[in-house]
Symmetry: C2
Subunit: 370 residues, 2 copies
């Protein structure tokens, strides 16, 4: 190499090298013993903590500073799972500058890491054939905004139209982005693994943006007085039926009969899946909710439900035992029972969080389209 | 609503509401005057700054704290563009907790915002038909890792195989992730806009991961002694030709002739596009580099080039006038001229950064497949 070339190249990368050196503490580091070490290079900071989300709620790990100004903390051994976390630095919640995966959320961003299982957990990327994720950009006339959705097609799918796949509409929760079910939920890897093991049928999974009224994001705590919540769920159904489903059925080889369509969702998306699925039994034979939120006034939201209604092939209602919404879900089930609706009730360990919902999907997907 | 239901629902959202209130400073806020205001709620912090990347380098904006503990700073009017930035809080570089778009980068993460133009700039999402982004997960036998790539298909593409589209292999730079060209480069929106205006031919754009030897990420400043750089570029070519291209040609309706294939890239990807394209003239008729890096020893890397070589239909070599790599690019062009190769030399304003590369793609895409 001619020396001046070397100089140019080194000049180009020296800033990068310096930045790398300054920031290059490894964080998070997942040990073979499933303990996780968090590090932050911050000599001037007075206090640093890790706020780590467990399925039962967030815990705080105090970080200590070494003489070089590097803060660190190590967790106890963690159950194999995907974890979200933040640092709290002099009172400010920050995303770990060393992390490679981010929580996509309107209110509660952070970092993500995986503690792998042995054998791998069903949500881990493994050496099986992988499906594709398709990201679609479109304008919604119903809602009046520019939005996007994600579509999973199964491994080695025949997209020519010769094969028609069953389709699951899978809905995220309040505050999530449209990619919540893939980035945090690992829905694509869950399906890859279940399909490879023969446990789930190859299916197309559509993950639309779940806000029928985006203003709902401005009103998290104003449920009883603000009609935006009702508008949100009604318009979501409208957008799904009038825009998302026609687009999917035009672009992907999916079945168009009720037996070939499922709808499921978590939290706000659980309410949406019940509201949309149970009010449109001609469209969906498979209806599931996980930790459903906002199911007030069932007699108003499901005015036509009774024993003479077309029963879903599966009505599946799951909630974690430590979820604050468990009581509301119990009441909903009681109300459905009073209307002679048949359903499967699923109670698991865990609260209102992704560890529960990933496991819910692992349990649910094999039940669909049977 | 029955009162206890309200309590349950409010209990569920109160944490969220509190978090929202604590963090709910709006940041970044892009004004109609193209000034951008950055805010951070951090009462305990002693010093906060914005590090804002301009096309000519980063500038620092001092933030001031109001009595409520909210830090803020407002920029001068900014040229319409997409900007990346970080906060520096008590000496720690952090991502703005309020930002919604993140820079995907191994060393230099941060937030992103757009200052829109009027009319919109070519990289903005506009109300034209949009193509799709397909994300593929696969294992590379050549490299020996699990990786992914992104594929853009044009608006309303006929994917049945009846139409064969020309294909552009578009390569990211050193330290980028595989999604750099879409998240920061807005390559999909650039193509959407150019195609809608009839300026570019509908084409499929493949954006693979650009590391032939991932260990290259451990050696940013060790170019002359570490053979990992040569391994990286050679193995990248190998992976592209033996794995990426066969996969793309199996799964998408792309042309398989040299006139229907282009390769272009930025920085490290610029070197890779020249190395791959010029050494495989039977495969690529359109070869372009933007701010190409690491083009040492051209006689070694391009041993067969001379006036008798098969000339590309386009050999396009761009570099910004403020780029530290300009001199190296000039030398490369001199060397190519000495070998009687025909090429188009493009010099623009700007340094080694995305504002240059987005504009490069806007200029380049219309030239391809003519």
């Amino acid at each position: 190499m001619r020396p001046y070339r070397l100089v140019i190249l080194l000049a180009c990368f020296c800033c990068l090298g310096a930045a790398l050196a300054a920031q290059s503490v490894r964080s998070p580091e997942v040990g073979a013993d499933r303990r996780v070490t968090f590090r932050l290079n911050a000599p001037e900071v007075r206090k640093a903590e890790v706020s780590l989300d467990l399925s039962t709620g967030a815990i705080t790990l105090a970080m200590t500073k070494d003489p070089a100004g590097i803060w660190s903390a190590t967790s106890d051994p963690l159950v194999p799972d995907i974890y979200s976390y933040k640092f709290v630095v002099d009172g400010v919640e920050i995303i770990d500058p060393g992390v490679r995966e981010f929580v996509p959320n309107f209110f509660d961003q952070g970092g993500l890491f995986t503690v792998p299982g042995s054998p791998p957990e069903p949500w881990e990327r493994t050496e099986v054939p992988h499906g594709q994720l398709h990201r679609e950009f479109y304008s919604s006339k119903v809602v009046g905004d520019a939005r996007e959705m994600y579509v999973y097609t199964p491994p080695n799918a025949d997209l020519s139209g010769k094969t028609l796949y069953p389709v699951l509409y899978l809905l995220h929760g309040y505050s999530d982005w449209a990619n919540g079910w893939t980035v945090v939920g690992h829905a694509n890897f869950i399906l890859d693994n279940l399909i490879a093991q023969g446990k789930a049928k190859p299916m197309i999974v559509v993950m639309p943006l779940g806000y029928g009224e985006p203003k709902v994001l401005d009103s998290p705590g104003d449920l009883d007085r603000n009609p935006v919540w009702q508008t949100n769920i009604e318009r979501f159904t409208d957008e799904l039926l009038r825009e998302v489903m026609p687009r999917v059925e035009r672009e992907y080889p999916v079945r168009k009969d009720r037996d070939g369509r499922a709808i499921a969702g978590l939290s706000m998306g659980g309410a949406e899946s019940l509201y949309t699925g149970l009010n449109h039994p001609d469209q969906f034979a498979w209806v599931a909710s996980m930790s459903a939120a906002l199911l007030t006034a069932p007699e108003k939201n499901f005015p036509h439900l009774d024993a003479s209604s077309t029963q879903p092939k599966l009505l599946w209602i799951a909630c974690g035992r430590q979820d604050d919404l468990l009581k509301g879900n119990r009441e909903l089930r009681e109300w459905l029972a009073s209307k002679k609706m048949k359903f499967t009730s699923v109670q698991t360990e865990g609260g209102h969080d992704w560890p529960v919902w990933r496991r819910n999907l692992v349990t649910l997907a094999p039940l669909l389209f049977r």
